[in-house]
């Protein structure tokens, strides 16, 4: 079996759903002739035609607005944001319209908004952000952040089939850096279920997206020192798998919350609150956060390197927490 990259897994997932369900279509900037800025839709125009692979003007608000309208008319649109950074242009359509339709008049909006997110590719402040928390804070949406090729495919398929708006953040650092063998059958990854990437006994690292790989790298190094990390990949942030987090913390009794997003208002803060509310008496040390600092993503490569959380940060904090 060939190895499938993360970006190819997304492409396969969309392709398979389009083959199966003619209501599914793609719209976005350069998704047609060009095949998408990251080639997620490469070859689709030829296969599915210009009625199902639609090149749009540069207007995220218009793209998402059109997708919502089509969804209300029974379609299953996939709206591509060329970079997740520009999803903010569609903020009103997503948060005030898509998220609230079902609550206001019972009409589900089955759209998927895809956004290539994350840093590590020297993209600077407008092409490296992790804007997930704006949407995690919006009831009515679902937000997923796959970390593996398997999840990338399984979650895009689950998102397309979901009856409500799903914001799908694909980490562009992972696009061609990770690959794995994927099963041939038609699988999905349920939205809202976490995955244990490594079982361990000394402490839990709760994370998602590209940071899963930083945690795994750290775990390898720490294993040599006798520190055994459990790594929990949330996969979905809204809804998120609270039970998996609590179960793991209750088992290991120490926890590091790791994300690439900046610190204040990041998902780690929410997790820390829940853990202290519901598992306080299981904690054998302080809840630790590892995040990017509260600044825009720097353009300068050395500064970006400093800005992004990495394995060495996990190793340092894990040692401190282990000795605590």
């Amino acid at each position: 079996m060939p190895l499938t990259t993360y970006v190819e897994a997304i492409r396969q997932g969309i392709w398979e759903e389009m083959e199966k369900d003619e209501r599914v279509f793609v719209l976005g900037e350069d998704v047609g002739i060009y095949g998408g800025a990251f080639k997620v839709t490469a070859g689709m125009l030829e296969r599915f035609g210009e009625w199902r692979i639609i090149d749009t003007p540069i207007s995220e608000s218009g793209i998402v607005g059109a997708a919502i309208g089509a969804a209300l008319m029974g379609m299953r649109p996939i709206a591509e944001m060329q970079f997740a950074d520009f999803i903010s242009c569609a903020f009103d359509q997503i948060t005030n319209f898509a998220a609230k339709c079902r609550y206001r008049w019972g009409a589900g909006v089955p759209i998927v908004v895809r956004g290539p997110s994350g840093g590590g590719v020297h993209g600077g402040p407008f092409h490296s952000q992790n804007p997930e928390m704006y949407y995690v804070h919006t009831p009515g949406l679902k937000v997923v952040c796959p970390a593996t090729a398997y999840d990338a495919k399984g979650l895009i398929k689950a998102a397309i089939r979901d009856p409500d708006p799903v914001i799908y953040f694909e980490h562009k650092f992972l696009y061609r850096r990770i690959k794995e063998e994927l099963p041939a059958d038609d699988f999905i990854v349920p939205i809202g279920k976490a995955a244990i990437r490594r079982t361990g006994s000394d402490m839990t690292v709760v994370t998602y997206g590209a940071m899963v790989h930083a945690a795994l790298e750290a775990a390898k190094e720490l294993e040599r020192e006798g520190i055994d990390l459990e790594i929990l990949d949330l996969r979905s942030l809204l809804p998120f798998d609270k039970q998996a987090v609590l179960d793991s913390v209750r088992k290991t009794n120490k926890v590091i919350l790791l994300h690439e997003d900046t610190r204040i208002g990041g998902f780690a803060g929410e997790l820390a609150a829940i853990i202290s509310e519901e598992a306080f008496e299981y904690l054998d040390g302080p809840i630790r956060r590892i995040t990017a600092p509260d600044t825009p993503v720097p353009y300068s490569p050395p500064l970006e390197e400093f800005f992004l959380p990495k394995a060495s940060d996990v190793i340092r904090v894990a040692r401190e927490l282990y000795a605590y």
């Binding site: 020192e225 006798g226 008496e281 054998d284 000795a323 605590y324």
Partner: protein, 432 residues
């Protein structure tokens, strides 16, 4: 002036108040340091408290029967006339300062009316001990509370930063066999250092093995059993019961039951006896939620059913409202559905007491683990004919050994044994 305030001590990390149950000295009595001064009762223990100093019991501030917060001053010991051992200068005590909870150490200028400050102001060790702060964590405090451990007993044994008592410390204190905290490898430049072997090599069999992941059921059982061991203070009591009458009753009714398609075993007799006893001792049918004992209206008895792939405990709801036939039928039905994987979630829910059968393969008896959140579980051994002495004659009787594992947090031995005596009485006097 040398006067010592006697404080209500903290008898354990989670204890916040205590009751003075008895004063062993009267006001005006002479008292030696470390001589029993009064008795207290707390959530954890009842104990005598020794006097923190020698002198005269000058004043009793907390009467017998009164409950006060820890560190409340309960009495004042003054110098009195005689000053044995310690050689502190004799002084006449002024009345104790109102409201001020100042210990008797020399500090600052003395009150105007008082005599010169003492020079022998050595620190009071007992008081030092009380004020020592033991670093720990929420988890450690919870484990200590569950096991009735005074964290002070781990003082100086913490291996965490600044001597913090960690999870490993308290677990190895509870179970000395548990692995101690492996020392952390020195850090610094780990990349340049040669790869170190793991600090504590996991204890693993090194020969050829086959690795089989646990099934979900196996994992659930494992977790539940460990959780139960951690949660409850398990104690097991054993009873022998003469089964002559129930076996006779069984023989008599067997054919009749079978005509209705119900197989009669001995189990329903034990369920019925337990249900009757549970009615008389509702504490055995309770559970513990925080500081609250929850008595359940219903008597729902779970029966552990051994399966090829694990173990499950279906529940006979309202077992006390069923007759022997009803119980036998329910046990047949639940057992069969358990083996055919036809149980519904409803069938295994809301048990209030459990019966298990460690004797079914000839075992004499077992000491079962409580099925949380229940507080007791009864084990049935194998029934075997034994020589027993009845009225000074040796007779042959079918005897079963019963065990009751109970949660000593809630149930004391006396209650557990009375409950079992009731079960025994029911079974041995079964109407035939």
């Amino acid at each position: 002036m040398a006067e010592t305030q006697v404080k209500m001590p903290q008898m354990g990390e989670s204890i916040f108040e205590g009751t003075v149950t008895k004063w062993l000295k009267k006001k005006g009595d002479k008292v030696q340091r470390d001589e029993p001064l009064f008795e207290i009762s707390t959530d954890k223990i009842d104990t005598e408290i020794p006097s923190p100093a020698s002198g005269v019991l000058q004043d009793i501030l907390v009467k017998e029967g009164q409950t006060v917060q820890i560190n409340t001053t309960v009495a004042i010991i003054g110098d009195g006339a005689a000053k044995p051992a310690e050689g502190k200068p004799e002084t006449q005590e002024p009345p104790p300062a109102q409201a001020k909870q100042q210990p008797s150490r020399p500090s600052g200028p003395p009150p105007v009316a008082g005599p010169a400050p003492t020079t022998g102001g050595e620190k009071d060790e007992a008081e030092e001990g009380e004020h020592e702060h033991i670093r720990s964590s929420p988890l450690v405090r919870r484990i200590a509370k569950e096991h009735g451990i005074d964290l002070a007993s781990l003082s100086g044994k913490g291996t965490g930063t600044n001597g913090r008592v960690t999870k490993r410390d308290i677990l190895s204190y509870i179970e000395p066999g548990a692995p101690a905290a492996p020392p952390l490898k020195p850090v610094g430049t780990p990349k340049e250092a040669p790869p170190a072997p793991p600090a504590s090599p996991p204890m693993k069999f090194t020969g050829e093995v086959e690795r089989v992941p646990m099934t979900a059921m196996r994992k659930a059982i494992a977790e539940h059993m460990i959780m139960s061991r951690r949660t409850s203070a398990h104690v097991t009591t054993l009873f022998e019961v003469d089964c002559s009458r129930i076996l006779k009753a069984k023989e008599k009714q067997q054919a009749e039951f079978e005509r209705s398609g119900v197989k009669l075993t001995v189990t329903p007799f034990f369920v019925q006896a337990a249900a009757t006893a549970l009615k008389r001792f509702p504490l055995v049918n309770s559970s513990l939620e925080g500081d609250t004992i929850v008595y359940k209206q219903a008597i729902n008895i779970g029966i552990a059913v051994n399966l090829e792939w694990g173990l499950i405990v279906p529940v006979i709801k309202h077992a006390d409202e069923r007759n022997l036939f009803g119980l036998a039928k329910a046990i047949n039905d639940l057992g069969e559905r358990a083996r055919n994987k036809k149980l519904t979630p409803e069938d295994v829910k809301d048990g209030t007491f459990t019966i298990t059968n460690p004797g079914q393969y000839g075992g004499l008896i077992g000491t079962p683990i409580i099925n949380q959140p229940q507080v007791a579980i009864m084990g049935m051994g194998g029934i075997k004919k034994r020589a027993v002495v009845i009225d000074d004659a040796i007779a042959i009787r079918p005897i079963i050994m019963l065990s009751l594992s109970f949660d000593h947090r809630v149930i004391d031995g006396a209650t557990a044994d009375q409950f079992m005596a009731e079960v025994q009485k029911e079974l041995e006097n079964w109407p035939v």
